[in-house]
């Protein structure tokens, strides 16, 4: 009979147990935390962040990093609003065309990011950070620093139309997550991400075309950032040059807290889902239990460290950098 309580199993389920423990903790302090309505609120907060985190998961699994998300989201969100408004201002009037266009634009920006990293041999950290700044700058240039409102009721149904108590955008994010899982688990590209992240030289020697895999990874990440941008516009009904703010911290933290190793090759989109939920639950729970605001940042930091300690397998790595 296979043993259930193995070390591997403990590590695999640790992030989920951390999430469960947090839910129990917050519920014990304020029972209204454990309600369907509050879970819907957490889900709304988590949906765009999940898309960003899923995008960057592929990159982190490859052992690279992508910090362009804030700029890419701001730019694609602003472009999306301008495009829909130019196409008549509602999805029904032809504005829906903006959705595929923006998804392709996101992937194209990701591809540029990848090309800078791979062709110019600039570390992904620097290349993506710089491209992120370019994205924010372009968004400022387009908007002139102003807010672009987009309030089509059909589009906003993503937020206002509820099925079983959860808004439509939560289901959209769920479907995109399944798509990401499919790519990760059932495509050659997905397996190659792990091969590159586990050992690039080895992957190269085994015939994996590492450069192409990296380019595909960054394009895929850009595609998911564009989904996040559209969901974010659905959530707050506007786009501006700071629409992408805070997503960098939120997504990278979530990915790590969920148990995806920053050195690559370990973890996947399910870890990311749990990580995003952990961060969203902490953010929501701290207000719900009435923690004073001057303690919140410190508590968030501490909880993140604890979550990482519990949820990553550090024994298998020789060193951490």
């Amino acid at each position: 009979m296979p043993r259930i309580l193995t070390r591997e199993n403990a590590i695999r389920w640790a992030p989920f147990l951390v999430l469960l423990a947090l839910v129990i903790l917050f519920t014990a302090i304020n029972p209204s935390f454990l309600s369907q309505r509050n879970f819907a609120r957490i889900a709304i907060a988590a949906a765009p962040a999940l898309m960003v985190a899923v995008g960057v998961t592929f990159i982190i699994v490859m052992g690279s990093i992508d910090l362009s998300m804030e700029g890419v989201i701001s730019l694609t969100a602003v472009l999306f609003c301008f495009l829909v408004l130019a196409l008549g201002g509602t999805l029904a009037s032809g504005g829906w065309i903006a959705i595929p266009v923006i998804l392709v634009a996101g992937a194209a920006i990701g591809l540029v990011n990848g090309l800078i990293h791979v062709r110019l041999k600039i570390p992904s950290f620097m290349a993506s950070l710089a491209l992120g700044f370019v994205g924010t700058g372009a968004a400022i240039l387009l908007t002139g620093g102003n807010i672009v409102k987009f309030d089509d009721p059909t589009f906003r149904a993503l937020l206002t139309w509820r099925i079983l108590g959860f808004p439509l955008m939560v289901y959209v994010a769920g479907m995109c997550l399944v798509l990401a899982w499919f790519i990760q688990a059932h495509t050659r590209l997905g397996r190659h991400f792990y091969a590159v992240g586990g050992g690039e030289e080895l992957a190269h020697a085994s015939g994996v075309r590492v450069r192409q895999v990296r380019l595909a990874g960054f394009s895929l990440a850009g595609f998911f950032y564009a989904i996040a941008a559209i969901l974010q516009v659905a959530k707050i009904g506007q786009a501006e040059s700071v629409t992408g703010s805070n997503f960098m911290f939120m997504s990278i933290t979530s990915v790590v807290v969920g148990g995806v190793a920053l050195w690559g090759g370990i973890g996947g989109v399910w870890n990311t889902l749990v990580g995003v939920l952990i961060v969203a639950v902490i953010n929501n729970g701290m207000v719900v239990i009435g923690l004073p605001d001057f303690l919140q940042a410190a508590v968030l930091g501490l909880l993140v460290i604890i979550a990482v300690i519990l949820s990553t397998d550090r024994r298998s790595v020789a060193f951490v950098k």
């Binding site: 620093g145 937020l159 207000v287």
Partner: protein, 370 residues
């Protein structure tokens, strides 16, 4: 050492040397007039260059400030581009360095309007301007012990806005809409920012007259729409139906609050905001916001540049003006539903043309220190 780093250091060394030489030349040129006589001879600068030093272009507020500066330079017959933008990106060091570079470039023949980014930075900035013989007017940030009359004519004026009173007014409007009872939550700015503190204080002042209204909680939403949405959602879980009114520290937060409520299907929650941005004024007209407060950044941007400019040209002598003309509060205009349409027509649809020599008309009295 890699060639990249080596080249970089070499290039930086050269550009720094050039900068120092340029600065030295500038300083020398500025010192020259003093060698020939008293300062009175150079009280008037003909055609001073004009610059605005401010934080960033990614906000409606600073854009409006700059548009005012541009309107002023156009009013004196120059092109828009002649207004030099010195963008400090939230860095006091960059703010000071940019201003010093501008002083050197113009040989001190310039007028500068400036928000020094943080209070301690104001002193080195105005001293650099004084030493170069140029003229400066500041807004928002300066320490309480720094006064234009102590520095001299070169530090023309300082304008700031007192947010406590207007925030109290919006709170009263909110409480009356709540029927004088119930629970209110406050979503604030970045906790340590002065305006954030003042706007919360305004709410607390109004609370004293409404004993049946409870302040359920006040938490920072960092001036940010997304933060506002998420904080409001968490408040709803914590307090539920106890919340019968929302006091926001700025318009951006209010946009987030409205969206968080919309997601829950809650309409008609009384909400007040601050800043008077065009989108917020529209929400006031639609009845989704009860009130917002306009600080007329367009006028502030123009008049601050105008004060420095006309002091530089010698049109007026700052030291001959009373103290309430050297340190004063900017205008605040409360926008509520009954006057929103008029307000929009007057200030937003067509930007009013101001008399840029009426320096103190719309201002709000001398600054008081606590």
């Amino acid at each position: 050492m890699s060639t990249f780093i080596k080249d970089f250091i070499e290039r930086e060394t050269i550009s720094r040397r050039n900068f120092l030489l340029a600065t030295a030349a500038g300083m020398g040129a500025m010192a020259a007039p003093f060698a020939f006589g008293s300062g009175a001879a150079r009280a008037a600068i003909t055609d001073p260059a004009i610059a605005w030093s401010y934080r960033d272009r990614a906000s409606a507020y600073w854009n409006s400030i700059v548009s005012g500066g541009e309107a002023f330079v156009e009013a004196i017959g120059k092109s828009k581009d002649s207004l030099v933008s010195l963008i400090n990106e939230g860095s006091s060091e960059k703010s000071l360095a940019d201003i010093k570079a501008f002083l050197a470039k113009t040989n001190g023949k310039c007028a500068i309007a400036c928000d020094a980014n943080d209070s301690p930075n104001a002193r080195p900035v105005v001293e650099a301007v004084r030493d170069a013989g140029a003229y400066i007017s500041t807004i928002w940030n300066k320490t309480d012990d720094l006064h234009p009359w102590d520095i001299g004519d070169n530090y023309v004026s300082h304008m700031t806005w007192s947010d406590e009173k207007p925030a109290e007014q919006t709170a009263r409007i909110l409480f009356e809409a709540m029927g004088g009872k119930g629970g209110v939550v406050h979503l604030g700015g970045i906790a340590a920012n002065n305006p954030a503190i003042e706007r919360l204080n305004g709410l607390k002042n109004a609370l004293k007259d409404f004993p049946d209204i409870e302040l359920l909680d006040a938490q920072p939403a960092d001036w940010d729409t997304t933060k506002g949405t998420e904080l409001m959602a968490s408040f709803l879980t914590r307090f539920g139906d106890k919340i019968t009114g929302v006091h926001c520290a700025n318009d951006n937060i209010a946009y987030g609050v409205i969206e968080a409520l919309r997601a829950e299907g809650i309409e008609n929650m009384p909400i007040v905001a601050y800043d008077g941005n065009p989108e917020a004024v529209k929400l006031v007209m639609d009845g989704k916001l009860l009130a917002t407060v306009f600080t007329n950044p367009h006028w502030g941007g123009g008049i601050t540049a105008a004060l420095a400019y006309y002091a530089a040209t010698g049109a007026f002598k700052p030291s001959e003006e009373p103290k309430e003309h050297r340190e004063f509060y900017g205008p605040t205009i409360l926008v509520t539903k009954k006057d929103a349409a008029d307000f929009k027509a007057k200030y937003l649809d067509a930007v009013p043309s101001y008399d840029w020599k009426d320096f103190w008309g719309p201002s709000n009295g001398q600054i008081k220190y606590k």
